[in-house]
């Protein structure tokens, strides 16, 4: 007993004290070190390694320590946990634009507009529309536009040729008519098994970034969904999008079944088109069967639509957390990471577009786009893209729209007019809360 007591008092308790005291402290780093988290996509890790190595080798004033965002169910959850635990990095480069407002208003992000040299930098990089898009409701700017992946329509060129179409469907009518022509029961079991397009049927809020939202932006010329905490989407464009998609599902031109759990439905010819981003290029090039040809086109628009075709661009931006002891140093590194030269490196390594104005016409990137013609289509589209509206309740807004979308578009239990109206009313109620 005495031995146990001695062990307890002399070994166990001191060890426990040491562990509890020092085990919960933040990663130690010197005051001139900054911690940078990138996303954990292999290509982005490569890029992050490249820029940190370049910086650390050439700028001796302070050191950047890089690591990919720690593993978790999603990077959003990891960031949230880090914010709560005050273990955030100094710089994070994969923040979804829609999340920034919540963190900004909660005071956990550094407003870049208070830092020296910010306005010169942002005006050189972005146009006024983009700057307005990332300006918080409190007038500050908590994020630096970094990269975009515009959503466009990928199409199977071989199928378009087989259908003897003069051009790739551009409007709702052309799309629907091509869908009718293509739909078939290839194995003769009495059920359709070839559809013109496919969109994920899950009700999860962010799935609407790949169907309703880009189509709404395309139809409306980039109109917002919410303004001053009020739904402004109860209009002809949203109703038109619901009608267009509902018609596709009602006629089985789009499948109600989840096809995404099977082999690649686009490359295997099960569907002729999809709404997707530039990441599809690397995937298709790697896995496409011999002779498979594909291309990209703007999102379909209403028949009477004229003007540039907008789309959603899935923007990911860079932020600096308030745990950063020297935000100005962090900003200097960000300026370096987003330089013209490093944007080119980013393009080459990741095949994602930097959000830089006029990138498609800038001679500095000409060679890259000449060698990557499909990426040039996305670069041209980048002139007409939109991110998300600035609002801290964006996820709930998209969830409410998604609920009505499912009821109307996929299962047809509501008319498009009723569904859009109900979604708008529910969003207005959300803001009254």
């Amino acid at each position: 007993m005495i031995i146990i007591s001695k062990i307890l008092f002399k070994v166990f308790i001191p060890v426990l004290l040491i562990i509890t005291t020092f085990g919960c402290t933040k990663n130690s780093k010197s005051e001139t070190d900054l911690l940078y988290w990138s996303s954990n996509l292999p290509e982005e890790i490569l890029f992050a390694k490249y820029i940190t190595t370049e910086w650390n080798e050439n700028k001796k004033t302070y050191h950047i320590k890089f690591q990919p965002v720690p593993e978790g169910q999603s990077s959003e959850e990891v960031i949230l946990a880090a914010v709560v635990g005050k273990t955030t990095p100094d710089i994070y480069s994969n923040m979804w634009q829609g999340d920034v407002e919540v963190y900004g208003l909660a005071g956990v992000l550094i407003p870049f507009d208070t830092l020296e040299g910010f306005w010169d930098f942002i005006n050189e990089r972005c146009d006024s529309t983009t700057i307005a898009e990332v300006t918080s409701s409190d007038g500050h700017i908590y994020q630096i536009p970094w990269k975009i992946n515009p959503i466009m329509m990928i199409y199977n060129q071989n199928i378009i040729k087989e259908l003897n179409l003069k051009e790739v469907p551009r409007t709702y009518s052309e799309f629907t008519s091509a869908a009718k022509q293509f739909q078939k029961d290839s194995d003769g079991d009495g059920y359709v098994d070839r559809w013109f397009g496919y969109s994920e049927v899950l009700v999860t809020w962010w799935q609407r970034f790949f169907d309703f939202y880009p189509l709404y932006l395309a139809a409306s010329g980039g109109a917002p969904l919410i303004e001053n905490n009020k739904a402004v989407f109860n209009n002809e464009y949203a109703v038109g999008v619901f009608k267009f998609l509902k018609n596709l599902y009602d006629n089985n031109y789009f499948s109600r079944e989840r096809l995404s759990t099977k082999q690649d439905i686009f490359l295997s010819g099960v569907v002729a088109t999809r709404f997707t981003g530039p990441w599809e290029i690397a995937h298709s090039e790697k896995f496409k069967p011999a002779g498979f040809e594909y291309g990209f086109q703007n999102m379909p628009v209403p028949d009477n639509y004229t003007g540039p075709v907008y789309t959603y661009c899935d923007p990911k931006n860079i932020v600096v957390f308030n745990t950063c002891i020297n935000p100005q140093l962090a900003f200097n590194f960000i300026k370096f990471a987003l330089s013209k030269k490093n944007d080119l490196k980013f393009l080459e390594l990741t095949n994602q577009l930097p959000r830089r104005k006029g990138i498609d016409e800038n001679p500095f990137y000409k060679e890259y786009f000449e060698n990557n013609l499909k990426m040039k289509i996305f670069a041209e589209q980048a002139k007409y893209v939109k991110g998300t509206d600035i609002n801290p309740k964006l996820k709930e807004v998209f969830d409410l729209i998604s609920q009505e979308y499912e009821a109307c578009v996929i299962y047809g239990v509501k008319t498009p007019e009723d569904a859009v109206r109900d979604a708008a009313e529910a969003v207005d109620l959300l803001f009254l809360d």
Partner: protein, 289 residues
């Protein structure tokens, strides 16, 4: 001397202190904090805001939450009887002198130890409308396809069938244990009296394994109430919210939208509901003994 006396007095407290610490940190504090949280609005990042009984009022007006409770109850109504019938039937067969008994017992238990996510992905393929194995079987014998996961009326029963397949192995083992405790001479006496197989089953087996049935009902009720992985992966709660379970809805409120106060209120209400159902079941089953 005095030092040793102090040490001896302290020693028992030191021995129990890990448990007390654990209890205070991981049970008492979270429970108390949750109760306080139900009266607040909190998104984790910003400071908590007192809202009185707002979360409770909202709960009773929240049609999706009420729908999620009804979905969970539908799941239980299908899942529990199905689980008991299938498990008892297979256990009864495995309790006979059949060849490869050990192999069958292991085989039926296998899905229990396979990850829920893997099982869910597998069944998603089986339930596929166009290329799923089940619909291929149906069409091969001239029957129409079933929208296992895309028909709102079928989606929850489909999930219940899958959950039964996944968990039945555990309950087979429990029933086997129960069956083996029934004394053989009861059956021998009944046989001498001319009882047939069904009479023996209903008059001897069922009453004798009542405690096991009770345990299985309680375990599968609690397990059923925590339905999450299956709808989360297979359907996301759709179609038309027909498979959104209470736990999935609470998760969405908490971790999609960071409505921590409201999610905690839902969680607390749901915990009370589970308690009520389990106590009622206990009383009902004890009455039947």
């Amino acid at each position: 001397m005095k030092n040793r006396r102090v040490k001896n007095k302290l020693l028992p407290y030191i021995f129990v202190s890990p448990y007390i610490l654990h209890f205070l940190l991981f049970v008492a504090f979270p429970v108390l904090f949750s109760i306080i949280l139900t009266f607040h609005k909190w998104n984790i990042i910003s400071p908590m805001e007192f809202t009185g009984l707002n979360n409770y009022v909202r709960l009773f007006k929240d049609t999706i939450f009420l729908k999620s409770i009804s979905n969970t109850l539908i799941f239980l109504v299908i899942h529990i009887p199905l689980q008991i019938i299938v498990a008892l039937f297979i256990a009864e067969i495995l309790n006979q002198n059949i060849k490869f008994k050990g192999f069958y017992r292991s085989a039926f238990f296998l899905p229990v130890i396979v990850s829920g996510v893997v099982v869910t992905m597998l069944w998603q393929q089986l339930y596929g409308f166009d290329s799923g194995l089940l619909n291929r079987l149906l069409t091969s014998v001239g029957l129409p396809k079933i929208g296992w996961l895309i028909d709102p009326a079928m989606a929850m029963p489909s999930i219940a069938i899958m959950a039964t397949w996944k968990n039945v192995g555990l309950y087979i083992i429990l029933f086997l244990v129960g069956l083996q405790t029934v004394p053989r001479h009861y059956y021998e006496a009944a046989e001498l009296e001319g009882a047939n197989h069904w009479q023996k089953f209903f008059k001897i087996t069922l009453p004798m394994i009542n405690p096991t049935i009770f345990m299985v009902v309680i375990l599968s009720t609690i397990g059923g109430f925590s339905l999450f992985i299956e709808p989360y992966i297979m359907t996301g709660g759709g179609p038309l919210n027909s498979t959104i379970s209470a736990v999935l809805y609470i998760y969405k409120q908490g971790f999609f939208y960071y409505h921590m106060g409201y999610a905690t209120t839902l969680g607390l209400f749901f915990a009370m509901l589970i308690l009520l159902v389990v106590v009622t079941q206990k009383k009902f089953l004890e009455k039947g003994e």
